[in-house]
């Protein structure tokens, strides 16, 4: 058998044995480690625990396997070897090959397998947290008499833990209390489609738009459809320059149409006149950009059974306008259980030196809308002046964030790191009920007593690139949980968002250098393997296998201590040369590999 093949057989056999060992260990762990989880998750949690353990010790497993494999494969008689001999160069190839494969496997384990396992573990932990929250809220809402919401929460709790006796009992109780209340479901996909469509509509060129609008207005006027004629004329009027021919035409059509609208009212009988008046009221609200009022007027009309073309159309227009300043409460409540992150926090610096401290308890991302719509649970913003004095705070139970083009912010973008053609987050702070105007969820504002500008906005723009929200979402979980590309982007910006750039840069430097560092370690392992190789003609004894776990432990501890020292090394390097450390550290380690390879070839044989 070729020595390299022999080495790999030993390494892979050893890895497989260790893998099984770790899984068995996971299943042998004390019950108390998993008591806090949902019962049907315990099996998978044990499996994941075993896998985590395996990933954790994987570099040392490879090292131990390589050490024994190589030391065994070196048991050929070589006689007296001088430094840098041909045989050692041949052996070096084998050592480098083994090192490379081991390093590659370590890298895959730490960058691919471990994050996946971790993600799954977090998901399991979040589900039990969500279950506890849902159950708690269901109880609270039941006590408050809001059975709709109580039912909604208890149903979600039951989805997570179908066999829970407590949740079942609560569900029955709520069911009994709320037999006359019916729950309404709503399909959100329309919402997103509308929003995405809305983004696209605004991209049209103004000239085409104006002539199209004027034509539509004229044709509606001819057909005695005066509401639409007025509406399109007004739209055209907004887009044209004052004094231009088109502007004048649009104004004329609008004025004529309005006269007709006002005069037509008296021509109808009592019921139709009332409907007409209501329609007009909704339309006027729309023109005054009171989209919420307009939405409820048209929505009420539809509810009452009047669903002519105008009403449906203006309800849609009002709804689009409404969705620019607020959102429907039910959108966010059902989405709660899909929360992808918890506890997200960052700061935003303003040009006047003041800063916003932002904390979000949970974020839900809608996959089908790309990353353009995100829902925040418990959004808190606290603003502090340059000298650290509290200015104002905003708190809202649910907020919806959408992306708007940075160009819409105008000049304020210029001195920031926002790209002009990029997007910025726009946070809608209030939400309204889809059917009733009475249930609005408004943000709570708190102002410092000497704060001059007490405006309670319904929506705010966060002056930061939209992509950064996603980086921060990942960064809040810790540097070691971030994928390398995200970490790379974030490490430079970290301190401006209230994170330590040293920690994120060092973590990045460590992660990038990890394969190089492992490579050095494995070459040194090869060096040890040669120095303490199995002598030619000596058979392997069974009792040597029994000592493997002990040696595994020793090598694991050595590796652990080495990574700890590695961290200190990166912090020192960062202290000395700053962010350049990210590039300098790999260079230093590459020299380390060369040194190790050279040290290997310089080994003598007896």
């Amino acid at each position: 058998m070729k020595p390299t093949v022999k080495t790999f057989i030993i390494i892979f056999t050893y890895i497989s044995v260790c893998f099984l060992g770790c899984l068995i260990l996971g299943f042998c762990l004390n019950e108390s480690n998993f008591n806090h989880l949902l019962p049907h998750h315990i099996g998978i949690a044990r499996f994941l625990k075993g896998l985590t353990f395996f990933c954790d010790i994987f570099p040392s497993i490879c090292a131990c396997g390589a050490l024994f494999g190589l030391a065994w494969s070196f048991n050929t008689k070589v006689g007296n070897l001088k430094r840098y001999s041909r045989i050692q160069l041949g052996n070096l190839k084998r050592v480098l090959f083994v090192s490379f494969i081991s390093t590659f496997m370590c890298f895959i384990t730490s960058e691919v397998v471990y994050p996946l396992v971790n993600q799954k573990q977090t998901k399991i932990e979040n589900e039990i947290q969500n279950y506890v929250d849902f159950y708690y809220f269901a109880n609270e809402y039941k006590a408050l008499g809001n059975y709709n919401l109580a039912k909604f929460y208890v149903e979600n709790a039951l989805k997570l833990h179908p066999t829970s006796p407590a949740a079942k009992a609560l569900a029955n109780e709520i069911e009994y209390l709320s037999t006359d209340v019916e729950k309404t479901e709503y399909d959100f996909s329309n919402e997103i489609a509308k929003y995405v469509a809305n983004i696209n509509v605004t991209q049209k060129t103004p000239e085409d738009e104006i002539s199209h609008l004027l034509d539509t207005a004229k044709s509606h006027y001819v057909n005695n459809d005066f509401f639409n004629a007025h509406y399109y004329a007004i739209q055209a009027q907004y887009l044209t320059k004052e004094g231009s021919l088109n502007h004048q035409t649009a104004m004329n059509i609008a004025a004529d149409a309005w006269n007709k609208i006002s005069n037509t009212e008296n021509q109808y009988d009592k019921e139709l006149a009332a409907l007409y008046a209501e329609k007009k009221r909704g339309y006027v609200a729309l023109l005054e950009e009171d989209f919420i009022k307009s939405y409820y007027i048209f929505n009420d009309l539809i509810d009452k059974g009047y669903n002519d073309k105008d009403i449906v159309f203006y309800k849609d227009v009002a709804e689009q306008g409404l969705l620019n300043i607020t959102f429907f409460t039910d959108e966010s409540e059902t989405l709660r259980k899909f929360e992808s992150s918890r506890d997200i926090y960052f700061t935003l610096n303003h040009s006047d030196g003041s800063k916003d401290v932002i904390y979000i308890r949970g974020i839900t991302i809608l996959d089908d809308a790309g990353q353009f719509v995100q829902y925040f649970r418990n959004f808190l913003l606290s603003r502090y002046s340059k000298d650290g004095k509290f200015q104002k705070s905003i708190f809202t139970p649910y907020a919806k964030m959408i992306a708007i083009p940075a160009s819409s912010l105008g000049k304020s973008v210029e001195n920031t790191n926002i790209k002009k053609d990029g997007y910025v987050p726009y946070v809608l702070l209030s939400s309204v009920d889809r059917y009733s105007s009475s249930n609005q969820v408004l943000p709570t504002y708190t102002f410092a007593y000497d704060y001059p500008n007490e405006i309670e906005e319904r929506a705010i723009v966060l002056e930061m690139p939209y992509e950064d929200i996603n980086l921060i979402r990942q960064a809040s979980k810790g540097a070691e949980q971030m994928p390398i590309p995200a970490l790379f982007q974030f490490s430079e910006k970290a301190s401006s968002y209230g994170y330590s750039s040293a920690i994120y840069s060092c973590s990045l430097a460590y992660r990038i250098s990890f394969p190089l560092f492992m490579m050095i370690c494995y070459i040194i392992v090869g060096l040890f393997a040669w120095n303490y190789r199995l002598m030619p003609g000596r058979p392997i004894k069974f009792r040597w296998y029994l000592t493997f776990p002990v040696f595994q432990l020793i090598i694991y501890l050595i590796f652990h201590v080495l990574t700890y020292f590695g961290n200190i090394f990166f912090f020192t390097l960062f202290g000395a040369i700053g962010t350049k450390a990210i590039f300098v550290a790999p260079i230093i380690l590459t020299f380390g590999i060369l040194w190790a390879a050279l040290a290997y070839t310089s080994l003598r044989g007896e």
């Binding site: 506890d343 700061t347 139970p397 120095n531 002598m535």
Partner: protein, 313 residues
Amino acid sequence: MKQSLYLVFKYITIFLIMVTVASYLHMQEAQLTLLVAGKTLPFFNLKLFAQGFLTYFHLCCAFSILPFCFYFLRHKYKMVQYLIPYIIICILVFFVIFPLGMDLQNKYADFLSPLNKTEQTPLSEGYFRSTSTYLDYYISTNDDGSSEVLHIPKSTALNSFYSYSPETITAQKGNSTGFSDPLIFDIFGSDTHVSLFKDFFAYLEVKMKDAYRNGFLSFFLFMSIGFSLSSTIGLCRIGKWRLFNIFNQFFAFFAIIFLNAMLYSNQFYAAFTFLAPARKWLPYTVNYLIFALNATIGIVLVCSQVDPNRESE
């Protein structure tokens, strides 16, 4: 003779490398306890380096014995060539350098005293520091080192779900973790393996100082650990594969240290109450027994077989 002197030189080289690395790491660790987010870690600090040297040089002497053994086992040395310098070095280390270390540590006790809470660095403003229940944002630092902190609870209760106004509290400087900044503690202080190692050696160190203070006899008895550690060389011929041999020796070396720490700890006697009366003399007896056992194994192996660590010629 020449070969033996060369080995002594090798030992000194190993010791110097080890003590430099240990002192540097001590220095950087001490600097890390003072580091707060936003500041950079200085590259060198002579005072802390010297502190590291004084703290660790005798321990480094003892730990250098292990790589020293690995060195002469790997090379073609005759037994007399390595055994004589080995024995001399062991005696010097455990009965000259250790007392010297104790003396120096007593002499410079003030210089070596660890930092207390008041010496910690005030936490830097403009950073988040998160615990499992609260998220803290450090808004500003006061003159006395305390900080104004925005204190946000992470838990979801209905009352904080629908209305919440931020609460600002004043956090005092310093914490019990030993690190000025919890962000740094999370990376370096929370490593259980490393802190376990440290606690463990610190514990033995305390016991050793006690023994030294109680006079020569008690120190000599405590140093029985030196006998047992040195005797691990007796195990170097136990197998036919020297990789197996050095691992055995390595394991035995640390197992003895662990065993000693255990034999001095209160928990051990709480678990094995029947050994409690023997508490005073048990560690020494165990150490001398190990010494006798290892020495016997060594002598028997030397007499009964050719050196398995050398290539069959």
